[in-house]
C-alpha cells in the first residue's frame, strides 16, 4: 500500500512537472513600452536576459535554441529569460502563438506593440540602433547589450560569468 501511494505521488509529481512545461499561450502578453519597462529594470539578485526578436527574423530564430539551452542549464540559478517579440499585433494568433507552441518555448514571451519606436529604443539602450536580434543582459550592477547572433558557447560563457559575479 505504502508503495502504491509512493508511486501515485511520484506519478502526480511527474505529471505536474510535465504540465508546467507545456507552454501556455495565454501568457503571451501584449504590452506597450511603458508596461514593458519594469521588466528591463529589475534590481535584485537575478540575472535577466531580454531578447528582442520576431518570428520573421531568421537570425533571431537561429539563436533561440542557444537561449533555450542556456535557460535550461541555469534553471536552478537566479537567471531569467524574457523574449520580447516585435511581431506585428495582427500576427499574434496566426504566427507568434503557433511558433511558441511548436518550438516548445517555456520562457516568458511578450509582444511589444508600440509603433513609436523612436520614443523607446534609446530607453532600452542608448547604443541600440533598432536592429534585431538584440539582447540585453542585466543584473543589479551591470547592463550589457549585444547585437550579435548568439551561439550556445558564447552565451553560456557570458551567463556563467555573470551568475558567478559576487
Amino acid at each position: 500500500m505504502k508503495r502504491l501511494i509512493l508511486i501515485l505521488i511520484s506519478f502526480l509529481f511527474v505529471s505536474q512537472t510535465l504540465s508546467s512545461k507545456v507552454p501556455d499561450t495565454k501568457r503571451i502578453r501584449v504590452l506597450n513600452y511603458d508596461q514593458l519597462e519594469p521588466y528591463l529594470n529589475f534590481r535584485n539578485d537575478t540575472v535577466y536576459l531580454v531578447n528582442f526578436w520576431a518570428t520573421w527574423c531568421a537570425p533571431c530564430i537561429a539563436e533561440l535554441p542557444a537561449i533555450k539551452a542556456v535557460e535550461e542549464k541555469y534553471s536552478d540559478k537566479k537567471f531569467k529569460v524574457l523574449l520580447v517579440s516585435l511581431d506585428m499585433l495582427g500576427h499574434l494568433k496566426s504566427r507568434l502563438t503557433p511558433f511558441v507552441l511548436s518550438h516548445k518555448i517555456t520562457s516568458d514571451v511578450f509582444l511589444l506593440d508600440d509603433p513609436n519606436q523612436n520614443r523607446w529604443i534609446d530607453k532600452v539602450d542608448k547604443s541600440w540602433s533598432g536592429e534585431i536580434p538584440f539582447t540585453l543582459i542585466y543584473g543589479k550592477d551591470f547592463r550589457d547589450s549585444y547585437t550579435q547572433q548568439f551561439d550556445f558557447k558564447t552565451l553560456d560563457s557570458i551567463i556563467n560569468r555573470k551568475i558567478k559575479m559576487p
Partner: protein, 202 residues
C-alpha cells in the same frame, strides 16, 4: 622610419574608425558606384541637377522594409521634383538572405513599381561606410558645393504598421526643412528593423 610607421598607423586607425563608426550628421558622404536593377552602374553624378539624396538601405525580405515600399515610392515621387530623389541600396549578403538576391531585387522592383534606383551593395562596403545597421535605414544627403553632407539619419516615420496613423513623418519633415533652408529637427531618429546580413558580423 619610425615617423613613417606612426603616420601609417594613424592613417590606418582613421580608416578603421571611419569604417566601424559610420557617418554622423554633418559628415561628408563618399561617392559610391553600385549596380542598379537594370545592370547599369549608378552614382551621384547620374543626377546632375540633384540638391541632395535620400539614400535608404533596404531589402526584399524584411517585413519592415516591405512595410515601407509604398511610402518610399511616394517620397521619391514628391521629393525628386524638389531635388531629393531616393536611391535604395540592398546591403544584404544573398548567401545569408536568399530573398535578397539580385534576381529577386529585379522582380520586387518591377512588382512594387519602384520609381527609384535599387542598387546592390555586392561587396558590402557602402553600408559599412555609412554605418547602416538595419533595413530600412535612411540617410539624407545635401549637396554643398562638390560635397554631399549627411543631414538626417534614421527612420522614415513613427508607425510602420499603419501609414494612416503616422504622427511624425520624420523623413518628409527633414526634407521639408532642408528645402526651406533650415536644419532637420530631429536630425536622427531610431526604428526597429532587420539586422543587415553580413558573414563578417558573426
Amino acid at each position: 622610419m619610425k615617423r613613417i610607421i606612426s603616420v601609417v598607423s594613424i592613417l590606418l586607425f582613421a580608416v578603421v574608425a571611419a569604417y566601424s563608426s559610420g557617418y554622423n550628421v554633418g559628415d561628408k558622404a563618399t561617392e559610391f558606384k553600385l549596380k542598379n536593377i537594370d545592370g547599369k552602374l549608378i552614382s551621384f553624378s547620374n543626377f546632375y541637377d540633384a540638391k541632395g539624396f535620400v539614400v535608404v538601405f533596404t531589402c526584399n525580405g524584411c517585413p519592415y522594409a516591405q512595410a515601407y515600399q509604398d511610402r518610399l515610392i511616394e517620397i521619391d515621387k514628391k521629393y525628386k521634383l524638389k531635388g531629393y530623389p531616393v536611391i535604395a541600396i540592398n546591403p544584404n549578403d544573398p548567401a545569408l538572405a536568399p530573398d535578397d538576391s539580385y534576381d529577386k531585387m529585379v522582380s520586387v522592383a518591377k512588382k512594387e513599381g519602384f520609381t527609384f534606383p535599387y542598387l546592390t551593395d555586392e561587396k558590402q562596403e557602402v553600408y559599412r561606410q555609412y554605418g547602416a545597421t538595419r533595413t530600412p535605414h535612411v540617410y539624407v544627403l545635401q549637396k554643398k558645393g562638390s560635397d554631399f553632407v549627411v543631414q538626417y539619419i534614421g527612420a522614415i516615420d513613427d508607425n510602420h504598421q499603419d501609414a494612416t496613423k503616422v504622427t511624425s513623418p520624420f523623413l518628409a519633415n527633414a526634407l521639408d526643412a532642408l528645402i526651406a533652408g533650415s536644419m532637420p529637427e530631429p536630425a536622427t531618429t531610431k526604428a526597429i528593423g532587420c539586422g543587415i546580413k553580413d558573414k563578417r558580423k558573426k
